[in-house]
């Protein structure tokens, strides 16, 4: 136990991130179930509006900051040294510190339940609701302080990953030959450097207002609530790509292996990642279409928002192109990856719909948004994560996960997820507001909400199966060799689980699929590629 507390080894730190994320995932899930129970029927009074507000605030904050970001960081910290043929990250103490900062931030956030109430102004805490005049308890102070700690941790781990990828690659592995997961994590980490400080600045200003009685966002003293919105979304929009790009990276590793084909269009996959990264800083105003900024703002940012769908679409075609003509093997991991393609596309389409300003005006703050965000964040990131767990669990633990339990897991999650969230598109179109603790008995509202709640219940069951599969496989799972999937990247040449020193001998790399080259000396990739990249 004490070993883990003082752990610096990147594999241990990675696992700590994943376990912490799992813990908070269950907490965030419980918050979601409280909401879904409350919304199961019209005019229910299972919880008070005050409690409901705390639920949606904590659910959103938890899932984004204490689940999505940490678990993706955990996978990156664990896998990247292995993928690039290194034995450790460049700044392991910074890496470990970043984990503990994030964890303590999480505890600080949850302590608020016991000290007078959790934050309740939504996960993006708009001013002036977030100011002292309207939020008098300490909840929001905890929120801001906790997020400052989490922000520090995010920036720390991003720095560690950038330096690692830049300096620790195996000989021969030029930047053009890195696995796509590595590339996308690098781009994400750079995005973090530019986006998270915007959150930090916003939180500092909010805390100034709340604790020191400053007036940044207080309109009665000349402050500007809109400033909060601008600054928050300058962070917030890149943030949503930060939590999805690493998932794209995972899918880019998994789909080729289970299609027995290399990724289709590596240069486009890599370049489109850069496009998404840059474009994401130029669209934040689309979260503010409804605040009367003027036609000019609307036009310019609507155009930009439509544009950002293009590179993402390129990636979808890249993944489909990879599968096309391949010899597909439907392991549980692959099933989640294919489901990811479908679900994320649906989420992307609902997102692009919002780029059209009149559509946004009608549907902002309705359940259509809730449907959109869950399709991209759950159907996207979480599905990719489940795929990733089934894929890399053998490497991390030395055991295979149970495939038949995996099938049950998969179908329950897919059915539950779609039942829970697809109907929310219609609820939004029908005008059901988000973040309101109950709703009137309008035609269709009750039935659709009940379906959503039941779907959520099925989803919970599927998630419990997922957790059980992990637990049971750790003890009873079949032993896995180094390379159970016959894959191609360097992590599969290390032991399962890898020794403290990942590689007895640092490999020499000549192509994007080093293990393919080893296994197929008669037809290695670097011969096909022709030129030797410098």
């Amino acid at each position: 136990m004490t070993e883990w507390l003082g752990a610096i080894d990147h594999k241990r730190v990675g696992i700590l991130y994943m376990l912490s994320a799992l813990l908070f995932f269950l907490a965030g899930g419980m918050e979601a179930m409280v909401m879904r129970a409350q919304l199961a029927a019209p005019n229910l009074k299972l919880v008070t509006p005050g409690v409901y507000n705390q639920m949606f605030t904590m659910h959103g904050t938890t899932m984004i900051f204490l689940v999505a970001m940490p678990v993706l960081t955990g996978f990156a910290v664990y896998l990247i040294p292995l993928m690039i043929g290194a034995n450790e990250t460049s700044l392991p103490r910074l890496g470990a510190l970043s984990f503990w900062l994030q964890l303590f931030g999480g505890f600080l956030l949850y302590i608020s339940f016991a000290t007078g109430g959790a934050p309740n102004a939504g996960w993006f805490s708009y001013a002036p609701l977030s100011e002292n005049t309207f939020s008098t308890g300490t909840g929001l102070d905890y929120w801001a302080l906790a997020l400052l700690m989490v922000t520090a941790g995010s920036i720390g781990s991003a720095i560690n990953l950038i330096v690692t990828i830049a300096t620790e690659r195996a000989p021969g592995m030029t930047m053009r030959l890195v696995p796509l997961f590595v590339w996308m994590t690098l781009v994400t980490s750079v995005m973090i450097l530019f986006a998270l400080p915007a959150l930090a600045a916003s939180l500092v200003m909010l805390l100034s207002d709340r604790l020191l009685h400053a007036h940044f966002f207080d309109p009665t003293q000349g402050g500007a609530p809109l400033l909060w919105q601008h600054y928050f979304w300058i962070f917030g929009h890149p943030e949503v790509y930060i939590v999805v790009l690493p998932a794209f990276g995972m899918i880019s590793e998994i789909i080729p292996v289970f299609s027995r084909k290399p990724i289709f269009g590596y240069p486009f996959m890599a370049t489109s990642t850069v496009a998404i990264a840059f474009l994401s800083y130029g669209v934040w105003v689309h979260h503010m279409f409804a605040v009367a900024l003027g036609r000019n703002f609307l036009a310019v940012f609507a155009a930009a928002s439509m544009l950002i769908g293009v590179p993402t679409g390129m990636k979808i075609f890249g993944w489909i192109g990879t599968m096309w003509g391949g010899s597909i093997r439907f392991t549980t991991s692959m099933m989640f990856a294919v489901a990811f393609l479908l679900e994320f596309t649906i989420g992307g389409l609902s997102g692009v719909a919002f780029a059209a300003v009149p559509v946004d005006w009608q549907m902002t703050d309705t359940y259509f948004v809730v449907a959109h965000i869950h399709y991209v964040l759950f159907g996207g990131t979480v599905f990719a994560l489940m795929s990733a767990v089934y894929y890399w669990f053998p490497k991390m633990s030395g055991r295979m996960m149970d495939e038949s339990l995996g099938r049950w897991n998969f179908w329950l999650v897919v059915i539950g997820f779609n039942a829970a969230f697809f109907v929310q598109h219609f609820l939004g179109l029908m005008g059901m507001r988000r973040r309101v603790y109950t709703y009137p008995d309008l035609p269709g509202f009750a039935a659709l909400n009940l379906i959503s709640t039941l779907g959520a219940g099925i989803l919970v069951f599927g998630i419990l199966l997922f957790c059980s599969n992990i637990g049971m496989s750790l003890v009873f799972g079949a032993k896995a060799g180094n390379d159970p999937w016959n894959a191609w990247t360097l992590e599969w040449s290390a032991a399962s689980p890898p020794a403290i020193q990942n590689f007895a001998e640092i490999p020499q790399v000549r192509s994007r699929r080093p293990l393919w080259d080893e296994k197929h000396p008669e037809a290695p990739d670097w011969v096909l590629a022709g030129e030797s990249d410098a």
Partner: protein, 258 residues
């Protein structure tokens, strides 16, 4: 409130067939044709498109609009001058010509001096920022000669700026990472200027407050200044972003799927 003009009237009567511009563009086009005639016209479309756009940019109603009525139109005009036409012209330079030119010591010296990335960056970004200082911008609006000089500097420093990215001589181009840093930092400056203009109080450039006709395209002076800033900010960034993406894509080379 001045007399109102319809868009149609504007499109018909707003052309300014300035002889020096027409002559200059014709000279550029004919000079180019004469030089590349023998060796093939592969890159001609780029160059000629650039010249054509240059002509339109300076004689079409856009010019009249920008000079007298709308700040946003003027921004659009400069946008083309600095960010669209120079890349087109550079893309149109044939490689053999550029290499032959660089063989001459005098030209090589000049290229080393102003084609050096920090210098070209400063020239491009600095000139762009400088001309938006109100005292300078307003002076150019008031004085025709200064105005021509302003347009020339946009065109020339624009071309100098894009040289390390689009030079026909591969060895003078920045490598991928450098190109990204070069363009990203320029984009940042352009964005900051654009954002500043978007949020600034109206009246930075007073000439537009007293335009002969107002409310063109439904834009009051405040909206107009805001739009000008936004055009510089977001579409401006897209130009730099396109350059960044092209550099990254080029870095990966033309490979078969490996």
């Amino acid at each position: 409130m001045g007399r109102r003009m319809t868009v149609r009237q504007l499109l018909v009567t707003g052309w300014d067939w300035e002889p020096s511009i027409i002559f200059g563009c014709a000279l550029l086009a004919m000079g180019y044709a004469a030089i590349v005639r023998k060796q093939g016209l592969a890159r001609a479309p780029y160059f000629l498109a650039g010249v054509f756009l240059l002509l339109l940019d300076l004689v079409s109603p856009l010019d009249t609009l920008g000079d007298q009525y709308l700040f946003s139109a003027h921004v659009l005009q400069h946008f083309f001058l600095a960010l669209v036409i120079p890349p087109l012209l550079l893309l149109g330079v044939p490689r053999w010509f550029a290499i032959a030119a660089m063989d001459r010591p005098a030209i090589r010296k000049v290229e080393r001096a102003i084609g050096h990335p920090p210098v070209s960056w400063l020239l491009g970004v600095g000139v762009m920022l400088a001309w938006h200082i109100p005292v300078l911008f307003n002076a150019a609006l008031a004085n025709d000669t200064l105005h021509i000089f302003q347009h020339l500097t946009f065109l020339v420093t624009g071309t100098i700026f894009w040289w390390p990215i689009l030079s026909a001589v591969e060895s003078r181009r920045l490598p991928a990472l450098g190109a990204v840093a070069y363009l990203f930092s320029a984009c940042l400056c352009c964005s900051l200027l654009g954002a500043f203009l978007t949020f600034a109080p109206v009246g930075l450039y007073p000439a537009y407050l007293h335009a002969p006709a107002s409310g063109l395209f439904g834009l009051d002076p405040q909206s107009d200044q805001q739009l000008g800033g936004l055009l510089m900010w977001v579409p401006g960034c897209f130009v730099y972003l396109t350059g960044i993406l092209a550099s990254v894509r080029r870095w990966y080379g033309n490979e078969a799927t490996a």
